[in-house]
């Protein structure tokens, strides 16, 4: 049955393509519709990452707020950013969302040209342009918590079937900041709880090749890793898949990925791109949009970790909560530099 499929989609707050295709405005009761345009970077909506999350946020806004109409375009090359952003701005869109730091130059250029349009850029900090809001995510904090979970579980062998080697494996899609911040935090969090443990780190250079992700995971597993933390979009799904087959554990990323492999995914380091988008749309609708950089972190629940899997001892949750407070209070500073 397709029940599971739709279930799935619901879990992720996404309602597939049709939603974007058909419903242009989910009600215009107050008479004023705002138009939101989303420009993905070349990763596209199927990146299993921030492009998709931004889309989820926008779709949620369309469904939950009245008078929001949306449109989305996927860029095919670096040269498409300026025309695509301009298109929305020129056609009277109220808010144009640019996903990814790759669009920094393009947003700067277009925003200056269209001062009446509001812009939101994800994962970048543009300052000094009043109509540009930037959302940056301290995903190292989320990574840190995920690392703490991995470390605790490893050190005390608190899950069934963990070996005694105390090795965890991280798989990055590419050596770039949105990936590396997670990894940097994860390394620190893990080392904090399990100083003698080892973190393997490999990059796949792909965000779509599931089979490759699986192969990387298998390689790490063969080196003793029994918790895999992939930060690699669709490629990472392959890694989680491999972890499941090898009966080891995994930690999801960006969004709660427990649905991918219940019983395998211990938790997920999440990044609230959808929330950021949703909030910005709401602000635009309420006329409270403000330019400048907003930082999303543990303190404002902009990043975080998903509920722990069943079977993880309560003590882990307790420690995580403590450490979370320590990060929020500044007692623990998380670096964004990956240890290679």
């Amino acid at each position: 049955g397709t029940g599971a499929a739709s279930n799935n989609a619901a879990t992720n707050g996404s309602n597939a393509t049709n939603s974007a295709g058909t419903s242009n405005s989910a009600g215009t009761t107050n008479g004023k519709t705002i138009k939101i345009g989303l420009v993905t970077d070349i990763g596209g909506l199927n990146d299993n990452g921030f492009n998709h999350l931004a889309y989820v946020g926008m779709t949620n806004a369309q469904h939950q707020l009245n008078g929001v109409s949306t449109s989305v375009v996927q860029s095919q090359s670096e040269s498409d950013y300026v025309p695509n952003l301009s298109h929305f701005a020129q056609n009277g869109y109220n808010l144009v969302i640019a996903v990814g730091y790759l669009m920094e130059d393009a947003v700067k250029q277009v925003a200056k040209e269209y001062p009446k349009t509001d812009f939101l850029i994800i994962d970048d900090n543009i300052t000094g342009i009043p109509n540009v809001a930037s959302a940056i995510f301290q995903s190292e904090q989320a990574g840190y918590l995920a690392g703490v979970v991995a470390g605790l579980v490893q050190k005390n062998h608190q899950l069934k079937g963990l070996n005694t080697k105390n090795v965890v494996g991280v798989i990055g899609g590419q050596d770039i900041p949105p990936v590396d911040t997670y990894i940097a935090g994860f390394q620190q969090g893990f080392k904090k709880e399990d100083p003698s443990g080892k973190v393997l780190l490999q990059y796949t250079n792909s965000f779509s090749d599931e089979a490759l992700g699986s192969q990387y995971a298998q390689n790490e597993i063969s080196q003793g890793a029994d918790i895999i933390f992939p930060v690699a979009g669709g490629c990472g799904i392959g890694a989680i898949n491999a972890a499941k087959s090898a009966k080891v554990y995994a930690i999801g990323v960006d969004t709660n990925q427990a649905y991918l492999a219940p019983g395998t995914v211990i938790t997920s380091a999440t990044k609230g791109v959808d929330t950021a988008v949703f909030d910005t749309i709401k602000a635009v609708q309420n006329g409270t949009f403000k330019g400048g950089v907003s930082t999303f972190n543990l303190a404002n629940n902009g990043v975080g970790i998903a509920p722990l899997m069943q079977g993880v001892p309560q003590s882990v949750q307790t420690t995580v909560n403590q450490i979370k407070q320590q990060i929020i209070s500044g007692q623990i500073k998380v670096s964004t530099t990956v240890q290679k």
């Binding site: 599971a4 490999q202 649905y259």
Partner: protein, 306 residues
Amino acid sequence: MIFSDPEIWAATLSMAVPLALPAIGGTFSERTGVVNIAMEGIMLIGAFFAVTFSYWTGSAWLGLLAALICGGLTASALAWGAIRVSADQTVLGMGINIFAAGLTTFLLNTLFGFNGTPINTPKLPNVSIPGLDKIPYIGVIFQNQSILVYIMIVLVIVSHWFLFHTRLGLRMRSVGEHPLAADTLGINVWRIRYFGVILSGLFSALGGAYLSIGVLNGFTANMTNGRGYIALAAMIFGKWTPLGSFGAALIFGFSTALGIVLQGQGISSNLLQMIPYALTILALAGLVGRAVAPAADGIPYDPRRS
């Protein structure tokens, strides 16, 4: 030493399958004179429909069957354009690749949302052949490999025999070398070409299905990641023979595995991932040398139409 670890050979074998199968398929197609650059797209189609039907029917084998049917149909479109219309085969292939990437992504999103196919989709079994797993070193390599790995090995041998030791194989080769000569001997050039192209579609789809329900069980957009093109290179590397294609696929698989294994020593992953490609060039220049394509490869045959 890393080479003594059977893991790397197991990985090599596993990475070689989705290259070897389409490469052998490509061999059949090009041996009859039709360039199949659409293998990338057909692999995607195979991968997608394998997982979709596997999920719908609850049987991975039916998924595999669906993959073969859809791959064969896509290849028929290529065959029709290349043979009946005498269109440029490379352009057709590129068109099919773009079409397939779009279609599979579109269907994925409409049917399953954006996050890939459900994790509880049945996949093809992994098997260990009794007896084989008793052999010390080799046993580890073949331990718990996908059944498609064994199917591939059988197909490699059968394909080679078929192409070089059967009547139909002889006819296929003759058509790819000199279709006019084959035609003057009463061989139905077009029929043979259809056969070769569709065969290549079946093999490519099988390679795609390996990705989605063989190693894994799931589909993500563009999950073939250029393997169809690498398979094209493997086919040429293997001098348009099934055994050679398999050997080339093994080299690619091995060097990819090597790129994985060598990581983690602080060298940039970008530099390490050049290894497969650099090795290929070296091997090509050093070992393989001149490879001559079937003489009529890529040339439409239509002496009686004008």
